[in-house]
């Protein structure tokens, strides 16, 4: 993944806010990057841009050598479907679907058969320790369990890149540790992980930390 002179500004209450200012960076496959910085410093903007969800005002974002924002929206959706997994602070599970069905969504989008969808989703939920909660709705699960369902969902399409936005933001220290262990494990499998976080303990798990300040990036190795 590569950012090439990326800038992003947006208007907030009539004022132009610069979220990213001429940022360039490179993330190699298998890397584990923590992005830290004060609130409003553009961390989430950076993450969404990496996932092909937010186009830059100027500059280019490359994924596997392809300029993401020169693709059509549907082609970008295809790239996300095949290579990228998002983990959200608020989990973003679909409330009226069961744990199993939530995990099935990416498999459905990848047009797998019903049987295969169930088979794979069941396996993934077992992997995150929720083999006995398949038919529970999100509201019937604890927050830690909800985040694990979200992680199982991320893993459904076997993504090369996992983009996590404050994955432990809503969790108690014990559950946070479980989720971070799981991310470590995924990184050891060779997946690239980019994690936005406020939590120094979470950031310390990463191989390197990018600090964002007023739209500018500085990098430090852990």
């Amino acid at each position: 993944m590569r950012f090439e002179n990326v800038s992003k500004g947006y208007k907030h209450r009539g004022q132009l806010v610069t979220a990213l200012d001429d940022a360039s960076l490179e993330i190699t496959p298998g890397d584990y990057v923590a992005i830290v910085g004060p609130s409003g410093s553009g961390k989430s903007t950076l993450l969404l841009m990496l996932g092909g969800m937010l186009s830059p005002s100027s500059g280019r974002v490359f994924l596997n050598g392809r300029s993401l924002y020169e693709l059509s929206p549907n082609q970008r959706a295809e790239v996300r479907r095949q290579k990228v997994g998002f983990v959200f602070q608020t989990f973003n599970l679909v409330p009226y679907l069961t744990a199993l069905e939530n995990v099935q969504i990416p498999l459905y989008l990848a047009e797998l058969s019903q049987v295969k969808q169930r088979e794979r989703a069941t396996g993934l939920l077992a992997r995150v320790g929720l083999g006995d909660r398949l038919d529970h709705k999100p509201t019937e699960l604890s927050v830690g369990q909800q985040q694990r369902v979200a992680l199982a969902r991320v893993l459904a399409n076997d993504p090369e890149i996992i983009l996590a936005d404050e994955p432990t933001g809503n969790l108690d220290p014990e559950t946070s540790a479980q989720i971070l262990d799981l991310l470590d494990e995924l990184n050891r499998e060779g997946r690239t992980i980019v994690m936005v976080t406020h939590d120094p303990r979470a950031a310390s798990r990463a191989k390197r930390t990018l600090t964002l300040k007023a739209g500018r990036i500085s990098s430090t190795s852990n």
Binding site: A77, F88, P106, L109
Partner: protein, 382 residues
């Protein structure tokens, strides 16, 4: 759903009330008259006799024409007769069997024309049926009548003391009375009906008639039947029993207008409320939409998702509207219009079609908006 229900019930009741009115109208008899130019409708009904005549050939011209909605043509020639010092009217009529014979002979089967039950008499070939007496009064048509047979009105029978099967001398010819017609309270009661050609011969008038009574279909009458006959028979005058026809046409028109107004209301109000609901739904579910997009859903899928929802809403609304509307029509029909209303499955197809169409059209913009949502905005604001 409610709108669909109202229109289904109006349509259902209208259909059966039209049918009921058509039947009533049928019972009243002819509703179109072809008269000589100089005669007014009033003359015809008050005196039932006039000196003006036109050729009998006009009947054939009508019968052979391709004008739709002409059923039961009944040519008449009326002449005054005196029997036992009392004045009666001898009316010559042409039995239906002669039309058939003529038409077939001319190679044009007029009775094979679609008649759609408006003013038609069941076409049973052969001689008199028990119902024939009634038919002459109601339908103005008789199946069969020979040169020496006569039908007499109730007054004639009473005054002359003649019963069915007895003989009656009229203008020197002996007729056998095949039927005494039931009392109608009209000029028909003092009529003696005989074969048209017999009357022409006895009156020494040649092949002429002074009226053609027609039971026309109301729909066709309002659709320019009169003009068509006028064109075909420029030397004759065509009048409709306007009051009867007008009332029916007006009622039909009012009901049609009413359902059109309701249809417009459904389209506007129903469409607007569905669109409003869908916009609200898209707004409520924007986070879900954003999540789906983050998981790799394309805009096409999101669009299809919301249109599918609209389709389901439309189908449900259509079916529910049909059921409620039919129940309304069946229960209210007898009370409001005094008619029996039977459910019409055709209306289900209509209700489904309209409802699905409105739901889909009204939901298209909200669905497209959902498909074009900026996923990042939907994820960031929550």
């Amino acid at each position: 759903m409610l709108g669909i229900a109202v229109v289904v019930s109006i349509k259902n009741i209208t259909f059966y009330s039209e049918k009921a009115v058509a039947l009533q109208l049928d019972a009243l008899g002819a509703n179109v008259l072809v008269l000589p130019k100089s005669v007014t409708l009033q003359d015809y009904y008050s005196a039932d006799m006039q000196n003006d005549e036109f050729p009998e050939e006009y009947v054939l011209r009508l019968a052979m024409s391709d004008i739709q909605g002409l059923d039961n043509l009944s040519p008449k020639l009326s002449v005054p007769v005196k029997l036992s010092d009392r004045s009666f009217t001898l009316t010559g009529i042409l039995p239906k069997s002669e039309f058939q014979a003529k038409a077939m002979w001319s190679g044009a089967g007029i009775f094979s024309r679609p008649a759609e039950g408006c003013g038609t008499v069941a076409d049973v070939p052969g001689a008199f049926r028990p119902a024939a007496k009634e038919t002459l009064v109601r339908q103005r048509v008789i199946e069969d009548l020979s040169d020496t047979e006569a039908l007499i009105g109730a007054d004639v029978a009473a005054i002359l003391n003649v019963k069915e099967g007895e003989g009656l001398d009229v203008l020197g010819r002996k007729f056998s009375v095949t039927a005494v017609l039931p009392e109608t309270g009209t000029v028909d009661d003092s009529r003696i009906f005989a074969h048209l050609h017999a009357v022409q011969e006895l009156a020494g008038k040649g092949p002429v008639i002074n009226a053609i009574e027609i039971v026309g279909c109301c729909k066709e009458i309002s659709g320019g039947l009169v003009e068509k006959i006028n064109k075909l028979l420029p030397d004759a005058k065509v009048v409709t029993v306007t009051q009867v026809v007008d009332t029916q046409v007006k009622t039909n028109g009012m009901m049609t207008q009413l359902s059109q107004i309701f249809l417009a209301i459904i389209v506007l109000v129903g469409g607007a409320s569905i669109a409003n609901y869908m916009y609200a739904n898209v707004f409520e579910r924007r986070r879900e939409i954003g999540t789906l997009m983050a998981l790799g859903a394309g805009s096409g899928l999101i669009l299809r998702m919301f249109l599918l929802k609209a389709l389901i809403l439309g189908v449900a609304g259509g079916i529910a509207g049909y059921i409620v509307g039919t129940v309304l029509a069946v229960t209210l029909g007898p009370r409001l219009a005094g008619i029996v209303v039977v459910p019409m499955p055709m209306l289900l197809i209509w209700a489904l079609g309209i409802s699905v169409l409105i739901a889909l059209i009204a939901s298209y913009l909200p669905a497209r908006r959902a498909a074009r949502l900026d996923p990042c905005a939907t994820l960031q604001e929550v």
